[in-house]
Symmetry: C2
Amino acid sequence: MTSIRPRPATITDIARQAGVSTATVSYVLNDAPAGARIPEATRARVRAVADELGYVPHASARSLRTGSSSMVLHVHLDVVQGQLASEFLYGLTHALRELGYTLMQYGAERNRGVKAARGWAGMRPAAVIAGYDRLTPAGIDLLGKSGIRVVAVGADPAEVKGTGLSTLRMDNRTVGEEAARHLVGRGYRDLAAVIPAEPPLRGMGEERLRGLREAAAAEGATVRTQDMDWSPESAGSVVRAWLAEGLPEGVFGYNDEFSGLLLGALHDAGVRVPEQVGLVGADDIMLCHMLRPKLTTVRLEAQDPGEVARRIVEVVTERAEVHLSPWRPVLVRRGT
Amino acid sequence: MTSIRPRPATITDIARQAGVSTATVSYVLNDAPAGARIPEATRARVRAVADELGYVPHASARSLRTGSSSMVLHVHLDVVQGQLASEFLYGLTHALRELGYTLMQYGAERNRGVKAARGWAGMRPAAVIAGYDRLTPAGIDLLGKSGIRVVAVGADPAEVKGTGLSTLRMDNRTVGEEAARHLVGRGYRDLAAVIPAEPPLRGMGEERLRGLREAAAAEGATVRTQDMDWSPESAGSVVRAWLAEGLPEGVFGYNDEFSGLLLGALHDAGVRVPEQVGLVGADDIMLCHMLRPKLTTVRLEAQDPGEVARRIVEVVTERAEVHLSPWRPVLVRRGT
DNA sequence: AGCCATTGGTTATTCGTTTAAGCTAAGTTA
DNA sequence: TAACTTAGCTTAAACGAATAACCAATGGCT
C-alpha cells in the first residue's frame, strides 16, 4: 500500500471549504487593510477552517508574488565554531527575526566564487552574509546584478571589492597588536608566533601576525613565526623547534585553541609557563578557564552589542552600504 | 540619487533577447528531453544570452511549479558545536548535495513545537531534521500533514511519537554505560556524576546518567550526582561540595568541556587527578589533548561513516521511515 | 423614483518557471 | 498531387499567494 503524499493546504482549499473566494481568505489571513470590510463572522469562519486544515503559508509562493524575500543567507565554513561566531550568529538571528527576516545558514560549501554565488542567488535571499574568503569579485558582481546585498565579514574594505558590497571588518590586526603590547610590556623582546597552516584560518592568522609584527617592531622586539596544524603532534614539533633554536620569551598562539595545544606541548617538554615562556592566546573562550595556568588572551569585544545586527539590518532593509569595524581588542590577563 | 533595485534576469528576459519563447529557453537551459529537437545554433544563442544576463534560476518559482523542493532543513540549537555534530553535518551536506538536495541550517530558534513547526513548514522543505528536544507531537503532526518528512535526531523512538516520523537515535545511555564500565573496572565503587542544569543539555545529561547508573548498579557501585552550570564558578562549587562530603573515587563529567572545567577546579583545590580522583569525559574533542593530564573520554563513533547520511537520504527521497542508532560508544583511555 | 454610499465580497492578473499540447512550414512518400 | 512526417518551435495552463479593480445587493436620502 502506497500512501499518497499529503498535500499541504492552500488558500484555495480554505476558500472552498469556507465558501468564500481565495481573495477573501488572503485578506483575512493577512489582516489586510483591504479586508477590513469583511465582517467578523466571516473572518472567524475562515480562520477556523485554516486552523483545522493546518494551513501554513507557502513562503516561496508569497515571495514570488510580492517580489521580496524575507530570508537572509549566512554562508560559513564547514561548521561555525567559537564563542565570537556563536554570539554573532545568535544576536543576528534574533535581530533579524524581530524585523521579519529569517536567517538561514548554509555551510560546508566547497564551491567558491561565481559557482557558489549562483547557488546562493538562486534562493533569492534579501542578502548574503559571507566570510570574505568565500567571495570573489565575480561572485559579488553576480549577486549585485540580482539585487542581492552582500556583506563580507572579516574583510578589510580595501581588500574585497565589488558593487554594492558592504563589509563588516573583524580587524584581526588589532588583536595581534594588543598581544604584542602585552608581551613587550612584560619585558619580552624575543617573541614567537604560530600561524595556522590550513587555508580558511591562514588569512586570519596572517592578519593577526601583521599586527603583532608591527607593534613588536615599534618597541624593538623581534618575532619569529612557524606554521602549525590543528593537531597535538604539530604543537609538539613547534615546541621541539623552539627548544632546538632557543626558547622565545613570549609566544602568541594565534588563538586560544592553538595556544591550548601549545601549552600542553610545552608542559610535556618540561618548559614552565609563564616562568620560562609567556603565552597569550586570542578569543577568550571557555577553554582559558580549563587550562592550568589559566590562559591569558586577547578578546575582540563588541563595542556595542547589537550594533552589528543593527547595521546588517540596515544593509538588508535600506540598501545602505556599510563598512564598519565594530570590535575592539581587550587583553584578559590570566596565568600565562 | 536613488539607484533602482537591479532586477534579476528571468527566462522572459532571455527569451525576448534571444528571439525565442520562454518555453524554448526553459528547454534549453534544463537540457530537457522535449527540447531535443532544438538545433544547436538556437541552443548556443540562448545560452549565450543567459550568460550575458547573469541568469540564475529562481529556486522558489521552480519549486512552486514542480511542487517539489530540493531543500532539507536542519534545525539546531543556537550553534552547532562539537566534533560529532560537525562530522555529522559535513557528511550529510555532501551526501545530500550529491543527490541534488541542499541542506540549510536554521538555528537559534527559541520557539518550539507547533509555532516553530509552522515556520519550518512555510519553507516547504523536503524534510526537516531536528534535535528531538525541538519537537512536539503537535509539531510533528503539522509537518506530517504538509507532507514534510521529519527526522528526530538523538531521540529514542519510544519517546517521540508522531505520524511519519523517523528517528536517528543517539544513544546517550550507552555513553554513560561505557564510562561506568571504565571507572568500575579501575576498582572505583564510589562514583560521582555531574549533569548540566540548563534545558537543552539537561535531557542528554539525564540519558547519559541513566546509563551510568544502571551499569554502576550492576557492578555494585554507587553514583551521586550534582547539577552544574557551564561556568568555572559552578565547577568550583561542585568540587567544594565533594570536599565537604568526601571525595568520590571516580567522576563522570557529562562531556569533555564540563570535565575540563572540573579538572581545573580539582587542580585549584589541590586534588590530584587521577591519583585521588579518576575523571572521564565524553565526546573526545580536541580539548582532551590540551589538558594535563590528558582527558580520558568516551566517544560516540559512527559505526559506518556515511550510513547516517544514506539513511536520511532514504527518508527524504523514498519516504521511508527509518529508525536507527548508528553510533557506538568507545572509550579513549588517556591520563585521567 | 432616482441617485449615492456602503457592505461584503468576487474576478482577474501577476510573480518565474515548467511542460503538455499544439501549430506551421518544409520535406517525404504514395 | 494529396497525405503524412518531421523539425522547430509556440501557446497556454498551471503552481500558491497577493492585490488592484470591479460588482451586486441593500439602505438612506432627496
